[in-house]
């Protein structure tokens, strides 16, 4: 299937359209809320919550005996929330560190969930087949009502975000200070965490328990590289997330039998890699380029300063000197000399060089200028 054919299909084929919309909305809401998780340094929380949701799915199935996705997700929500509050409880009530609490709850709940899944598989109930799709997710099972649910939650989440924008921001930055201003930080915290749990639960059907945390973190981590504004970061994360969903679905739909969840996660990962390398301020590439450029400039300035030292000892600054004199000086090369000539700081005649008026002024201001740059 080629690209144009695919695009046509997205608009005409009901199933494909539903799945594309679903993964896009999911990516957007995850990116949005993932930004909070990343900025609070609670990246692993998402992983713990999604794993903690598994036993809820199994128990919901055992109780209801049916595979209604809404009932199962409700189970996931409850057990995800229980897991979250246990993690918080362990952190505040004991002296264990957050990573220990997260790891503990993650593996305990996941282990219990797996136990229940194998138990269910041994049951004669024919309905049980396919429960394990919640491990890695299966976007193909998305139906219109799922997408509506996702869109509704995303909408509510967006409204709450706009309402409590200032409270969210200050809590993320400085929780203790927020408390002294009279805000109920516990309430804000629970609000954020609840939405993160909701987003995770919504994504379980599509991306699955195991990979869900990547949906949350990857778009946010990528977005952070491009901006220094919280608002733009969240918008970017939502866009990256949505695009990961759309591209992932497209690739999995055009390549038969590639499961959607992992592909979405890989696309999100590619966004991260590209951002790490190519973002203008924080990216590795431009950092390295800036480093090399700064080093070159410094070499040039050093040479100029050295020439200035020599020129100062003569009455006329344009007094010519031999190039040889520079040979003892480190950091001097033919090409740096040529660059100084190009900048019109130095005149070169045969084997003799002399400072120009411009070069002399530049050199005398060299250090002053550097200090004022640092201000």
């Amino acid at each position: 299937m080629d690209v144009t054919e695919y695009i046509k299909l997205v608009f005409t084929d009901y199933t494909l359209r539903t799945i594309t919309l679903g993964t896009a909305v999911l990516g957007a809401v995850c990116g949005m809320l993932g930004s909070f998780a990343v900025l609070r340094k609670q990246s692993l929380l998402g992983d713990a919550i999604s794993h903690a949701a598994l036993p809820g799915i199994a128990i919901a199935f055992l109780i209801s005996g049916a595979k209604d996705s809404n009932v199962l997700l409700l189970g996931a929500l409850v057990s995800g929330l229980i897991g979250t509050f246990w993690i918080r409880g362990i952190i505040t009530k004991t002296h264990l560190k957050a990573d220990t609490a997260l790891g503990l709850i993650l593996s305990l709940f996941f282990g219990f969930g797996m136990l229940l899944l194998t138990f269910i598989q041994k049951q004669p109930n024919a309905n049980q087949a396919g429960l394990d799709k919640y491990l890695f997710g299966q976007a193909a099972t998305l139906v219109e009502s799922d997408v509506w649910l996702m869109a509704t939650v995303t909408g509510i989440c967006f409204v709450v975000l706009m309402l409590f924008w200032k409270e969210f921001k200050i809590l993320l930055f400085d929780a203790d200070y927020t408390k002294t201003l009279g805000f109920n930080t516990k309430f804000i915290d629970i609000l954020i965490t609840t939405f993160i749990v909701l987003a995770i639960v919504l994504g379980l059907q599509t991306v699955g328990v195991v990979l869900m945390s990547a949906m949350l973190l990857a778009p946010a981590a990528a977005a952070r590289q491009w901006t220094n504004s919280l608002g733009i970061m969240i918008i970017l994360a939502a866009i990256f997330g949505a695009f990961s969903g759309v591209f992932g679905t497209a690739i999995s739909a055009s390549q038969n039998n590639l499961s959607t969840g992992p592909i979405i996660v890989i696309i999100a990962g590619i966004f991260v890699i590209i951002s790490f390398i190519f973002s203008p301020n924080r990216g590795l590439l431009f950092k390295q380029i800036r480093f090399i450029k700064n080093r070159r400039d410094l070499q040039l300035n050093k040479t100029l300063a050295f020439m200035h030292q020599i020129a100062k000892t003569h009455e006329s600054i344009s007094h010519p000197h031999t190039v040889k004199i520079l040979n003892n000086f480190q950091g001097y090369t033919r090409s740096t000399l040529q660059q100084l000539v190009n900048k019109n700081y130095v005149k070169l005649e045969g084997n003799m060089w002399s400072l120009t008026e411009e070069g002399f002024t530049k050199a005398s201001n060299l250090y002053n200028q550097q200090t004022s740059d640092n201000e």
Binding site: F164, E167, D174, Y177, T180, L181, F183, N228
Partner: protein, 244 residues
Amino acid sequence: MNKIAVKVDDLTVAYNYKPVLWDIDLEIPEGVLMAIVGPNGAGKSTLIKSILGILKPIAGSVSIYGKSYKKQRSLVAYVPQKGSVDWDFPTTALDVVMMGTYGSLGWIKRPGIKEKKSALEALEKVGMLPFKNRQISQLSGGQQQRIFLARALVQNASIYFMDEPFQGVDATTEIAIINILKELRKANKTVIVVHHDLQTVPEYFDWVTFLNVKKIATGPVKDIFNDDNLTKTYGINYKVSIQE
């Protein structure tokens, strides 16, 4: 005698079983510039945090101008330790200072022109106006400290609690900060500072509290800042270092 700005009664705080603060009674008169000094682990930060309700004490009570802290919150501003936040957070200097207005705004309401104006004024006061749009990670340690100070100034409080505002700042910034603190005192504000540099106590402050889990002494610097109290607080003889 001045009015009592902050009154602490029988305050005891413990992590696990180990008391960090033991039965602290403290009266801070209005309009003083007070240093809290004591060795590491003496509970200086803990004292401030307990007064501000960030930490929950096991016992004791705090009153601000005779009423409970919760009712008087708007009279109190807090400058946390610089290291307590992530300075790589995606926001600008101006934005951080604006946070000082959030308390008076209350829930949901966004800061407007008035709030922005007072934030800019505070930035001006601490000499950081040219950096208002800087991303906070691109500020030096001293500049970050001044941003925190500006954020508290915006609150326009009567009582300021500051946790080591001089930590890791250069001499110029230190002087700039102390001048602002002295100005606050002139305006009859009460300023309480966790302080580490004993040498500068007599020069900067007019009131001092010696703390080492228990309160050792509190009062005017000229009366109680002496070798006896220093030795009691730090456990070693300070005679030489202070008289130099």
